[in-house]
Symmetry: C2
Subunit: 208 residues, 2 copies
DNA sequence: CCTCTGCTGTTATTGCATTCACAGCAGGGC
DNA sequence: GCCCTGCTGTGAATGCAATAACAGCAGAGG
């Protein structure tokens, strides 16, 4: 079972997709589902779905397949999204404000708490109910929120110093929008969102 | 050489990262670089870098390594970003407007041309120099821009019909922000940007 | 001119993820 | 009660990507 070290990364990514489809099924009142059907809705093969789940245990039943509500809850527990997590946001520019207004995160159990910006013009401003703090206040403000994750939507300057400070404050995971390589402190996970790279990939693929 | 079908997907993704670092090196006036140094800056192993490049040909030189300017230009050509490409944007909500204002795309050779929205309130409005068209005008307006790629930053309703229309108009690649599975017409490449999934992945990983 | 260094391009090896295939079994039909 | 169906969970096989290892060579130094 969940041997924690032996879980393929891509399996983790698929768990999110399973969870979303299960949520939809639950909303439409469906109580149980076979791997065939679920896999089809998600867009993977039934074998892969069963394999993915089998890494964490046996949740299915030969007669009825998987219980939608139970499996949904179980995956939520596995991902750690069964309880709301508070995130810190660094950078209240165009992107930061867009993320603040996005409802989708709350629906999935992620709440953006404190917002920080280096620009003194922005500090003190309130947006979507959150006040923007100065970057210097990081050490005094962040502990009140006990964030284990942060979103980087700031400029590229001094990123390494920033991530070191965040790591010191107990932040163990970063969602990074800054198109730059981050040398993360050990134990800190970084997930890059590089839209230009995705466009370049599409450009390559669509030219045959 | 570029056998087109046999290029690992992840190699394509890394090409973007190589290109970005090469651009930085070029800006700082460095003319040539060894695989060791370049790989270090990018964050991959030298073996992987050389392997990736060797798929497309031999660009290095034992004595000086790789010529920065030449390799930068070559990768640009491989990715198809050596000339500006015009993209269509569907959805001028919070996210769409943020993307419109982002300068990073232009720097990489991607220009957002026409913008479409279903909301009649938005149609006709001008934002960041682009006028918003009605979704019904897609067939009449899009051909003028000859877009091969589009960005989906709209709501989830009627996505399949929309992608079918786009495909009919020659759009072969989609950057999709809508958290929903798209059944893309054959020949159309879809790249999903699922931020909630990334957060869930980080949540999983950071809980050991 | 010869040797020695250390880099590239490429082949061999390892490791990981996906797919295949089936044992085992719960329930339905008769 | 017994067979039959069709599902899950999983060991085995396959395919693909990353890593290691090295052949071959261009130039530096003497
Ligand atoms: N806007 C997009 O669509 C988009 C897309 C992809 C990537 N990005 C990246 O996301 C980041 C933010 O983009 P944006 O469009 O919001 O830019 P922006 O200029 O609108 O906002 C950046 C904000 O971050 C603040 N900031 C800069 N450096 C900081 C630091 N070291 N610490 C704290 N705050 C800092 C600035 O004061 C500003 O308020 C950039 O790195 C950009 O490359 C943006
Ligand atoms: N805002 C974010 O930070 C964020 C993050 C991740 C994903 N997303 C996704 O991106 C999409 C857009 O997000 P947003 O925050 O801009 O939402 P939004 O509500 O601010 O804007 C959506 C816009 O799309 C238009 N629209 C809706 N359906 C359409 C259709 N079928 N065709 C054309 N236009 C249509 C609406 O009129 C509106 O103008 C959503 O699907 C959202 O889930 C947003």
């Amino acid at each position: 079972m969940s041997d924690t070290t032996k879980v393929p990364l891509q399996t983790v990514e698929r768990l999110s997709r399973y969870r979303r489809v299960l949520a939809d099924l639950q909303d439409t009142g469906i109580e149980s589902v076979f791997s065939h059907r679920l896999a089809d809705l998600v867009g993977v093969t039934p074998a892969q779905l069963r394999r993915d789940l089998s890494i964490f245990g046996s949740f299915g039943n030969v007669a009825r397949g998987y219980d939608v509500a139970t499996l949904h809850r179980t995956i939520g527990r596995l991902l750690g999204t069964d309880q709301v997590q508070t995130l810190a946001l660094i950078g209240m520019g165009n992107l930061g404000r867009t993320l603040l207004m996005y409802r989708g995160f709350e629906e999935r159990g992620f709440h953006i708490g404190p917002v920080f910006d280096r620009d003194r013009e922005k500090v003190g401003k309130v947006f979507a109910g959150r006040r923007c703090y100065a970057l210097e206040e990081l050490e005094t403000v962040l502990p009140d929120f006990s964030c284990r994750m942060a979103i980087l939507a700031c400029g590229p300057g001094g990123l390494d110093a920033l991530t070191a400070r965040l790591a010191n404050l107990g932040v163990a995971a970063l969602l990074n929008f800054v198109p730059q390589r981050i040398s993360a402190p050990p134990g800190v996970f970084v997930e890059d969102v590089d839209l230009s790279a995705k466009l370049e990939k599409l450009s390559f693929l669509s030219r045959r």
